[in-house]
Amino acid sequence: MKVALVGNPNSGKTTLFNELTGSTAKVGNWPGVTVDKKEGKYKKAKTPMDIIDLPGVYSLSPYTLEEVIARDYIINDKPDVIINIIDGTNLERNLYLTTQLLETDIPVVGALNMMDLVEKNQDKINLSLLSSKLNIPLVEISALRATNIKALMEEVVKTTTKREPLNLFKGTKLEKSFYALYDLFVKNGLKQPTFKASKLLENDEKLLASEEIKNLANEIKRIVEITEDSEAEIADIRYQFIEDELSGSLEKSRVLGDLTTSDKIDRVLTSKILGLPIFALIMFAIFHTTFSENFLFLGINSPGVYLQGLMEIPVEWITGGLEGLLEGAGASSWVFGLVIDGIVAGVGGVLSFIPQILVIFLFLSILEDSGYMARVAFLMDRILRKFGLSGKAFLPLLTGFGCSVPAIMGARTLEGERERKLTMMLVPYMSCGAKAPIWALFASAVFTDHGDLMTFGIYMLGILVAVISAIILKKFVFKGDASPFVMEMPAYHFPRLKNLALRLWDKLKGYIIRAGTVILASTIVLWFLSNFDFGLHMVEANSSNSILGVLANGIKFIFIPLGFVSGPDGWKAVVAILTGLIAKEAVVSTMGVLYTNMESEEDFLGEDDATTSLIATVGATFTPLAALSFMAFNLLSIPCMAAVAALKAELNDRKTFWFALVFWIVVAWIVSFLIYNVGGLLGF
């Protein structure tokens, strides 16, 4: 049995989905978090049900990709039952979508969500009256508190017979046109004739372009005249219907313009004078808490740096333990090299940065969950529009600070095609979590006194390049005006611990899995390539005679103008750049393998842990300017293979896809070149 979850953005669909399926799909407090349909299983019923979480939509109109995904699923795949999630605190607008769902013959169960908030607001909903008026079963739930979920699913099992589609047009101006179309569709055997007749009167572009309607075009033209006005008429009919339904079933304690707590918070956070400074302060506080080694200017480590220090302890233990174990087993020097120099240095280096990534993710999740993210879009729209983007693009771009993959997918929530492509191309410039270890490494190795400033500067550089690229791309590639900005502002609420924990766990799991698979494999391969020559003879560790050394030296000339490949160890930076194109986590692990230049067992045992030795070597190898140039290249070039795959899937357009890849590399090269050479001219 297939059950589809349909509802407005931010109505709690994904929370309900997680509750039903036990999955950890991402949940946030801004419209448009679910961009693709997700499937899971509800196992508590007698026969297991497939639950399909469709993207949140306000309407089944054909304009945004999400709306198209949702309506295509409903009409073509025909779920057995639709659970329509209705935000009880926002009945009128939520029921607008319901009126469209009811025009199909698919059974619908209404789940009135957020009933805890409705009670708190002292509003009253007369459930049985509303249910009888809409002619569908309604169940009051709170997805967040998991109340009444069982009752809802019992209702779903009972509600499997087809429904008589809702006819909104009786007694309206459009009655005649509707019946003419309806009869025509029934005569020609079209599925869902009520839905289609109503959509056609709404001037639905997607339906008009469909084969079955094109075939009937002449007859349709003969019987009805569809005007722009009929679209307005239908919206009016729908809302009129809802108002009639609600009269008597809803009692509001608040009148228009009354202030709730959320409104009072909002008055400060988006105020004319304080709004932008508060936003800047929040951003600074997040980076300061995560990366500063001079927390609150007290000379102590910030929580992020402190936790990172703690994380190095188990890494040290494991290194020590493995060393002892290998020695006891009498391992040969190459096994020792592979395990300690290759695997532990590579994977351990990546793992020790987990705390900082989690801290920054925690902050972003709190912003998202609390509803502040939507205000950020509100605050930033004016600025973003100058670059051909809407404030909504700020949301995916900000996600880019966490990970490019969901950010690129999140760009789907944007309405305009050009804006979507442009946003996706700018996403990698938002320094993602996987790049954070690179900044942290250089902050400790090269910029010891100004680690937080340097990190902040790198983030700013990314934003600056994004701005300049946007202006250039808008002028020459994606010409035209920005798309409209009409966005719901959700009420503020305290972030839920469960939500935050789920999200962090998800992130952590992904990171550890990558460390254990892709990174582990690539460190082993790298170790092999850097310890053997083309004749497969073992050479001096990390020498330029190794396979890797020869390859990297071959393409080193490309990077010479960028300043970070000078000296005999220059090829190592080239290798780090190359592995970084596969995954940015690999940059630090590669450097861990290549720069911890230890040749024998005695050396290993005499050394501190791998991270300390890496920091020392990198500090000695890179000048500040070369370090900046190197970081800029990593910041701006192709983010990782996962992001490339996401881009390819999202764009579905070969030309733009290849253009994006070339653009990223060329821009990275130019910016690094400018940093190194202009910085040199200025005497740094």
Partner: protein, 72 residues
């Protein structure tokens, strides 16, 4: 009068929605239809967009879009 010109704190009633295509439809979908009451809450710090209360929820839209909404 257009919604764009309404001062924050005022409540107005929608007369007609102008414009065309996706944006007009989006305005309807969000509940801004003739005879709806709109309370203008505020203008963003940089002067655009604006935030309104319509049908008991908060919505933000640009002045360009507000220009298409005729109110009284």
């Amino acid at each position: 009068m257009r919604l764009k010109e309404v001062a924050p704190g005022d409540t107005v009633t929608v007369k007609k929605v102008h414009g065309e295509g996706p944006i007009r439809r989006r305005i309807f979908d969000m509940g801004i239809t003739p005879r709806t009451k709109i309370y203008v809450r505020k203008v963003a710090p940089l002067g655009d967009p604006i935030e309104i209360t319509v049908r008991n929820y908060e919505l933000s839209l640009r002045k360009d879009e507000a220009q298409e909404i005729e109110v009284e």
